[in-house]
Point group: C2
Chain length 242, copies 2
Amino acid sequence: MRIDVVLTADAVTDEALDGATALVVDVLRASTSIIAALGNGAEGIVPVADADAARRRAAILGGRVVLAGERRGERIEGFDLGNSPLDFTPARVRGRTVIMTTSNGTRALLASRGAETVGIAALVNVSAAAAWAEAASRDVVVVCAGERGRVSLEDQVCAGLLVGRIAARAERARLTDAAAAAAGIAVPYGKDAARLARDSRWGRHLSRAGYAADLAACLSLDTSPLVPVYLRDVDKVVLRPR
Amino acid sequence: MRIDVVLTADAVTDEALDGATALVVDVLRASTSIIAALGNGAEGIVPVADADAARRRAAILGGRVVLAGERRGERIEGFDLGNSPLDFTPARVRGRTVIMTTSNGTRALLASRGAETVGIAALVNVSAAAAWAEAASRDVVVVCAGERGRVSLEDQVCAGLLVGRIAARAERARLTDAAAAAAGIAVPYGKDAARLARDSRWGRHLSRAGYAADLAACLSLDTSPLVPVYLRDVDKVVLRPR
């Protein structure tokens, strides 16, 4: 089993994804919010590229939809929710379809559609996501969202924890250099959320912008057993694969 | 002082380099070979994009030139030298201009020309290169060559060691996420050349291809006090800045 890591949404290629299981990681905050929404009873998440696409999709789907998303970390004007995992409460999302667009996370998800299977991973479900990916017995590509084409420390740390957990379970794991490097980063940061919050640029931004509670929620390890899966045919992220 | 790391030659942008000191890193093996060549008395290194450009430049320069370079790790047909640092002996290079093209290292160097100053770093001169870059009191961008658009573990580890050493010297250092991540990787790998040789894809390739002695030379820490500098005006890497 080959384990690879791609550090930004821009760097994903269909060649890298061919026949593989992709794990899409946007720790702060899209992956974590998707896991929270589905854990709180959302029927599914529809990832779209931008606010206009979200509104168009809402018009088509009609009924019980929730518009969620951010640009520069703040809720998009006119949307029901931003990108805070704490906002996706049962009262807000149960039984509803969430149409979601974020700066990097939904882009990474859309860029990963060429993989054989696509799961959503974050620090909150890192062990569950690793077990799910390993059980599929395919090559694994961890796709980090990053930040506008740049590396995000928290995504790379999460990727490294995934690599370590998958490699520990797999019978034979071959790590690419990017995977070995991510695993290396997970050594000093994997168990030190405070240091990760301090050293991550976006972590510092969220903290300053009044989202310290989000930061604490997103940087917690293994608080969820759920692995959301993207179903290409219906263009939706749900809790159960077909 | 802002410290940034770019993980592949393709990812370098002029915006990132603007006003900064660039440190170009291709541990296996171009950076190490350049340091070896200049240490052994070469007059300068002219980086060019490909074999044809090397031959044209040799025809223009005439006289005491040496053609050096590789593709897929092997010496280019008709060239005097490949890319092994052990080949750049005093007998081969003293007083001569080396015209050099490699798959990733010279590309990274050419991509970094937009920086205010450009130095060459590798594991063999990591402390000297860090001290030189810090002394310039500009922002620093470590440009890893990588491997055809992919991350090279050994380059990222070298970048992390540079980041750590520069940050330790600088009065106030701000690390980008990529810089913090590289520094994180340097923790498990920085002092364990055997593990680095094992986990690096290109390291394994060189070892299998009969270049184990190169690998040992390239993965040694701080065996050289030299910092080659690229002079844009004369398009040449030399030992002394103007």
